[in-house]
């Protein structure tokens, strides 16, 4: 069982308290009704599914109930870092030099 650091509670808590909520940094258009088919396809259907670093949303559903973002390595499952919803994609990841 993974340990996940909730950026709101500022604590590492067991995975059981959290729920994954899909890929992060996919913004819903403010003018969604006018979006082209291609843009809507990208927004709703297309996901990166990378091998390696993934940016994803998690919810501390059995804790503070907040949604937040996480950087995780899909090869090792390890969480690289977590940050609050609405914050930009981190420019540099800790330990990324390796």
């Amino acid at each position: 069982m993974l340990l996940i650091r909730c950026p709101y509670c500022e604590e590492e808590r067991p995975e059981l308290e959290f729920r994954n909520a899909g890929e992060a940094h996919i913004a819903r258009s403010a003018n969604i009704a006018g979006e082209s088919d291609d843009d809507f396809e990208k927004f709703f259907f297309i996901r990166a599914n990378p091998k390696g670093i993934i940016y994803e949303r998690w919810r501390h559903i059995h804790g503070c109930a907040r949604f937040f973002n996480a950087v995780r390595d899909t090869v090792t499952d390890k969480f690289v870092m977590t940050y609050k919803a609405g914050e930009p994609k981190p420019a540099k990841l800790p330990g990324a030099a390796k």
Binding site: I32, E35, D37, F40, F67
Partner: protein, 997 residues
């Protein structure tokens, strides 16, 4: 009276404490502290089982958890019959009853042994070849036979009466394995004051010190030192010492699963003791000190009872005081078997000969064996073991061929070398590395905060092991925040050391031979099978493994993996690392379901949610159904009524007078705040800004793709307060969906969401008399049609307690839903029931609720919709705000597929024969005469007998359904095709006049 093979003066068990037991109905005597294996061996019993595939007679290979052969059934009573228990692990208790497995009619004469003679039929891959044809034979012939033949052991007839405990634990240093290495690591870590857990699978700590008679530490015999060290650790407040505890799984971030066998070794455990305890440990650092496992020699008939690992024979002698034979042969490719021969010889057992595959080895153990007068044969091989139910001889030849001789023996001890136990390291996702010099896989690249020490790390020699383990324990503690402790490293005065050996088939079992030289005893895989797999094209070890099933039994190939790999590599002409080692997976040894399930059984398996009126409904004889976690009253049968009669009566009574229904399970969410209406506009298709306070609206929620996600009636209690209802099953996900949008897409909105599902009990009162029933109990609410029209909500009091009174209908009748704080739910229900009875009202359950709503064509999300249905498909286009510029799903609704012609649309169906009730889920076709497979154009979503209509009614999703009104369609069923007519969805009161009736 001492058993025949118990040697006085040998071993550590107190001869005074006897324990009687039975095996296959025969009584024997053992000693407390024995395992079932040592107790049987003390009585000269080697034959304990039949092998899985060939039903070959089998004895004990080992003295530990790696045992592939000696699997028995332990029987306490009808409910406690544990199959596949390793006799080498099961501790003896007075009265223990064990039976052999996989034999009929008896262990000595087993009819299934015909498989051994017919073995060419059962060669590698036979599962994939033999049972392919004829096709019919699988179901009627092969499968039943295989199932009957494949079972090892017998299941108990009764539910497990024992209970299983479960604990979480945290520590800085978790040490896995309590041999010399583990104890040294634990001592070093414990001295720093951090929390330490030390676990070992055996009843006593010491690991290989149990048999290594040559070890001496801190002036004591190795085993005695281990016991004093454990005593010292147990006395420390920061240390938890767990014996009989197997680390079976190594998961992410040093999360390790351990199972403690609490009471399986006790005569009368009593119910206050758990049978097993699951430990889920999170450790900052893990020290893996799991030792090494001896390998057998791969030669013909190496599976005969009496042929066993040298270290096992030594354990039986030095720990249990049992000689495994009176005239013992030894076959080895390394030094460790010499130590066994020496110990046995000194205990008075004749050593017939040592056969050593090596040409001219030298060393102190060889000198000592020679000095004891033991015959030693270098450069020779045992090419075959004689005997059937017990080994009777060994045939020895020069390893490169030539004349052989047969030596009578009653046991053969073998050692091909030692395999580091890297299972847990591998489970931690560490990568092993092959050491070319020592020809073994050792821990290479680490993936977690752990360290391997001692034999499991490929470290040879007691001195080096203690050095390494002590340093690793100290470092792990320091890295986890421990203070520097005083160093009290154990001093090794004497130890044993050996390495090397051989991998793969021994001479006489190599390429070109077809003898039964077993690699994997538990799955009956021979060296020949592995070569055959390579010939048939399996070039990766993962394929070889699956084709031959080598290493796939419950022992997970602890003794066989390296041999199998070496044989495959030789046959492929590749180096061992190029063929690859299979990945080790949890569990290390089999784990019971009981220990995983723990207390989560029966009533504690899953939470049960009961509404406020549950007790009342039960007292009225209601039959309940499970809806998610809820228990809901399904119907209320009166004396002599079956379900149909009860439902017919309930449905008729609701439309004639009135009915009471507990709707408390509906999800309820309060949406509050200055931007509440804006939020509702975004989450639902409907317009909300203009909904007046005190009015209600039926809302539809979509996903972004345009499909219906949930629905429910929403009441506006104030400009900034909405009382939202959801489906029963949808409540948690709707709340999640709302929170998601509020927190991440629309965080600028000032809104609070609160789940109020359990705060309000909801009593639906439906029917022409509903107002007459409620009104006498209500204060402060004008319930006239003018003051409180259909789809309105008022706050006031009922029976003196606060209420949110909705006028709404899920039956098509005049109706109300009385919301009261849940604590008052039962009292208000009873008051309404008393009023209702004056009017002849009925209580009704979920079944009637379903029928009544279907009579009106009201949909149930999740029944009439399935995640691919749009509002238009469900004839609910009217609920989508046409002027709105945004709501979740607005863009999805305009996708080309969602606006295309011919989509499946909800319609009504009437069977031509009104008595026939369609099956929900039944498929619909336009032309019943077309060839199979027919083109299916839809399916039935809801179907009931409607007593109010005097006929069956149904709802269905049908392609282009609304353009097919009046058409005849067909529902093909096993017993014939049913003709149906497409109709509108409303079967009762099409004009909706009864809402005010």
């Amino acid at each position: 009276m001492s058993a025949a093979f118990r040697i006085s003066g040998a071993g550590r068990l107190s001869q005074a404490k006897t324990a009687s037991f039975s095996f296959d109905g025969q009584s024997y005597s053992g000693i407390e502290g024995d395992t079932l294996a040592s107790a049987l061996l003390a009585n000269g019993v080697h034959l304990v089982g039949r092998s899985f595939k060939y039903h070959r007679p089998r004895g004990f290979l080992s003295a530990g958890a790696e045992e592939p052969n000696a699997l028995v059934q332990i029987v306490r009573d009808d409910a406690r019959k544990t199959p596949n228990v390793r006799a080498t692990v099961q501790e003896l208790y007075d009265g223990l009853t064990a039976n052999s497995q996989n034999r009929w009619p008896s262990l000595a004469f087993d009819v299934g042994a015909v498989n051994d003679i017919a073995s060419p039929m059962f060669s590698a891959g036979f599962y994939y070849k033999t049972f392919m044809w004829p096709k019919w034979a699988w179901k009627d012939l092969y499968e039943p036979k295989i199932r009957a033949a494949a079972g090892l052991g017998v299941s108990p007839e009764k539910p497990d009466p024992d209970h299983y405990a479960s604990r979480y634990a945290h520590c800085e240093v978790l040490v896995l394995g309590g041999g010399a290495a583990g104890i040294a690591a634990a001592l070093a870590a414990a001295e720093t004051g951090v929390r330490v857990i030390l676990a070992d699978e055996q009843a006593e700590f010491g690991g290989s010190l149990r048999f290594e008679s040559g070890a001496k530490i801190d002036g004591e015999n190795g085993y005695a030192w281990a016991q004093s060290a454990i005593g010292k650790l147990k006395a420390m407040g920061n240390v938890r010492v767990l014996s009989r505890t197997t680390a079976f799984g190594y998961y992410s971030q040093n999360f390790v699963g351990l199972v403690e066998r609490v009471s399986d070794h006790l005569k009368n455990p009593g119910h206050d003791l758990a049978r097993e305890r699951l430990w889920q440990v999170r450790a900052s650092r893990v020290v893996i000190a799991t030792g090494a496992i001896e390998r057998h020699m791969v030669f013909a008939n190496n599976d005969r009872p009496g042929v066993m690992l040298a270290s096992a024979a030594r354990t039986y002698l030095n720990h249990y005081g049992v000689a495994v034979g009176k005239n013992v042969g030894v076959y080895t490719a390394n030094d460790s078997a010499y130590a066994a021969a020496i110990d046995l010889k000194k205990a008075g057992v004749n050593i017939a000969a040592i056969v050593d595959l090596r040409d001219n080895p030298t060393g102190p153990v060889i000198d000592e064996a020679r000095a004891l007068g033991i015959e030693i044969n270098f450069g020779r091989a045992v090419v075959s073991a004689g005997g059937k139910l017990r080994v009777s001889s060994m045939t020895v030849q020069p390893k490169n061929g030539g004349g052989g001789r047969t030596i009578p023996v009653d046991a053969i001890l073998m050692s091909a070398g030692w395999t580091p136990s890297v299972h847990l390291f591998s489970q931690s996702r560490g990568k092993v590395a092959f050491n070319e010099e020592t020809r073994r896989f050792v821990p290479g690249t680490y993936a977690q905060d752990c360290v391997s020490v001692g034999a499991s790390n490929g470290t040879d020699g007691l001195d080096a092991t203690i050095d390494e383990a002590y340093a690793a324990g100290a470092k792990a503690a320091k890295d986890a925040g421990g203070k520097a402790g005083k160093s009290a490293k154990p001093k090794v005065d004497a130890g044993e050391s050996w390495s090397r050996g051989m991998l793969g088939a021994a001479p006489g079992a190599g390429p070109g031979t077809t003898v039964k030289a077993f690699v994997d005893f538990q799955n009956d895989v021979t060296a020949k099978d592995i070569r055959q797999a390579v010939h048939e094209g399996m070039h990766s070890i993962e394929h070889v493994k699956r084709f031959t099933t080598n290493g796939m039994a419950t022992d997970q190939g602890k003794t066989s993996n390296m041999h199998g790999l070496a044989i495959a590599a030789e046959e492929l002409g590749k180096p061992i690392p190029a063929v690859g080692l299979t990945t080790f997976r949890a569990p290390y040894t089999p784990v019971t379901f009981g220990s995983i399930v723990g207390h989560a059984r029966g009533a504690l398996f899953d939470p049960t949610r009961r509404t406020a009126t549950h007790g009342w409904a039960a007292s009225q004889g209601a039959v309940f159904e499970d809806v998610g976690h809820w228990k809901r009253a399904w119907y209320f049968p009166k004396a002599g009524e079956d379900m149909h009669k009860a439902v017919d009566r309930e449905c008729v009574t609701v439309r004639k007078t009135a009915g009471l229904f507990d709707a408390s399970t509906l999800g309820k969410i309060e949406v509050v705040g200055p931007d509440a209406a804006k939020f509702m506009e975004l989450l639902y298709t409907n317009p909300w800004e203009k909904l007046e306070t005190g009015r209600c609206r039926y809302g539809i929620m979509l996903r972004e793709d345009g499909f219906i996600y949930d629905d429910g009636v929403v009441g506006r209690l104030a400009p900034d307060r909405f009382h939202v209802t959801t489906t029963t099953g949808g409540a948690p996900r709707v709340m999640n969906h709302m929170e998601d949008y509020l927190q991440t897409e629309f965080p600028h909105l000032n809104v609070w969401l609160t789940s109020i599902t359990e705060q309000w009990a909801v009593i639906a009162v439906q029917g022409p008399k509903s107002r007459d029933i409620i009104a006498p109990l209500v204060e402060g609410i004008d319930m006239s049609d003018e003051a409180m029209p259909h789809m309105s909500v008022r706050e006031g009091k009922i029976c003196g307690v606060p209420t949110r009174l909705f006028r709404m209908s899920f039956t098509g009748e005049r109706g109300f839903e009385v919301n009261v704080p849940a604590d008052y739910g039962e009292a208000v229900w009873e008051a309404l029931w008393t009023e209702g009875q004056k009017h002849g009202a009925t209580a009704y359950g979920t079944e009637s609720m379903h029928v009544l709503r279907a009579e009106k064509g009201y949909i149930i999300v999740g029944q009439d919709t399935d995640g691919t249905v749009t509002p238009n498909d469900a004839a609910l286009d009217w609920a989508v705000g046409k002027k709105k510029t945004d709501f979740v799903g607005i863009r999805g609704l305009t996708r080309s597929d969602l606006v295309a012609k011919g989509r499946k649309q909800l319609v009504g169906l009437k069977t031509k024969d009104p008595k026939v009730v369609l099956e929900e889920g039944a498929q619909i076709v336009a032309d019943p005469k077309q060839p199979i497979p027919m083109k299916m154009i839809g399916h039935v979503t809801s179907s009931y007998w409607s007593e109010n209509c005097g006929r069956s009614i149904a709802l269905a999703l049908v392609a282009g359904g609304r353009d097919r009104m009046g058409e005849t369609l067909y529902v093909p069923m096993p017993n014939g095709t049913i003709e149906v007519e497409v109709t509108g969805m409303v079967f009762v009161d099409e004009k909706g006049e009864r809402l005010n009736g």
